[in-house]
């Protein structure tokens, strides 16, 4: 169960290998990798700077991860989120969850990224041809997170 907030890039293959090495109780791992897109809201994006709230970020990510572990039977969970300057194609975030059961791995990974998007204190500043602009929060992210609000973990197959 790990949370990392870092400027550096991460190696998804190495993180997955570390998560599963020597463990034979894991039936499936679901991973989500978020990347910087070159387009947002119809405008081209040449770079992005991620600001965060050191201290609170780690605290929130750990709380979100603990919530996932309470809801689903997980062998392991990992969140890595970068900050600082990123370019299109760069990796921003990795969420990975391991469970004996694939539904638990899928749902908990989905839950983690949805909650992270509304609770972890990160803010994106995009560089566009029109200048820099702060990304606005999306209603669809609130809706995605709200789905999980009154729902217990589904532990089927």
């Amino acid at each position: 169960m790990t949370v990392k907030v870092q400027r550096e890039d991460f190696d998804v293959g190495a993180e997955l290998a570390a998560m599963t090495r020597g463990k034979t109780s894991i039936g499936g791992v679901t991973l989500f990798v978020g990347l910087v897109r070159d387009m947002a809201g119809g405008e081209s994006v040449s770079a992005m700077t991620l600001e965060h709230y050191p201290g609170m970020t780690e605290k929130q990510l750990e709380a979100i991860e603990a919530e996932a572990r309470a809801r689903w039977p997980l062998d392991d969970a990992l969140i890595i989120h970068r900050y600082g300057r990123l370019e299109p194609g760069d990796q921003i975030v990795l969420v990975a969850t391991a469970s004996a059961h694939r539904e638990a791995a899928f749902e908990s990974c989905h839950f983690l990224i949805d909650w992270l998007k509304t609770k972890a204190p990160f803010w994106k500043l995009e560089a566009t041809p029109e200048g820099e602009r702060w990304v606005e929060a999306k209603d669809s992210d609130d809706a995605a997170a709200a789905r999980w609000a009154n729902q217990d973990g589904d532990q089927k197959g």
Partner: protein
């Protein structure tokens, strides 16, 4: 009390953090936001729409009726956009 600003609240107000002496009538987060608006025109403009001003106290998200204590670390920021 220490107040931190992030993202466009920081750039609009022009500082990342400030230490303020709260008057005794300010008892909760909502009162703090109203009082901060009186500090400068920049504060007033940045904090005008409270729907997009979120608050954390001691690094936890809180609603506007959350009470304040003298030693609290308070942060004001727009809705988060990470992930």
């Amino acid at each position: 009390m220490k107040v931190l600003y992030f993202a466009w609240l920081r750039t609009k107000i022009g500082v990342a953090a400030e230490t303020v002496d709260l008057p005794p009538e300010v008892k909760d987060v909502g009162g703090l936001v109203e009082w901060l608006k009186t500090r400068s025109p920049k504060h007033a403009e940045a904090l005008a729409n409270s729907k997009v001003v979120k608050v954390a106290v001691n690094q936890e998200h809180v609603p506007y009726d959350h009470p304040l204590s003298p030693g609290d670390e308070v942060a004001l920021f727009p809705p988060v956009t990470g992930g």
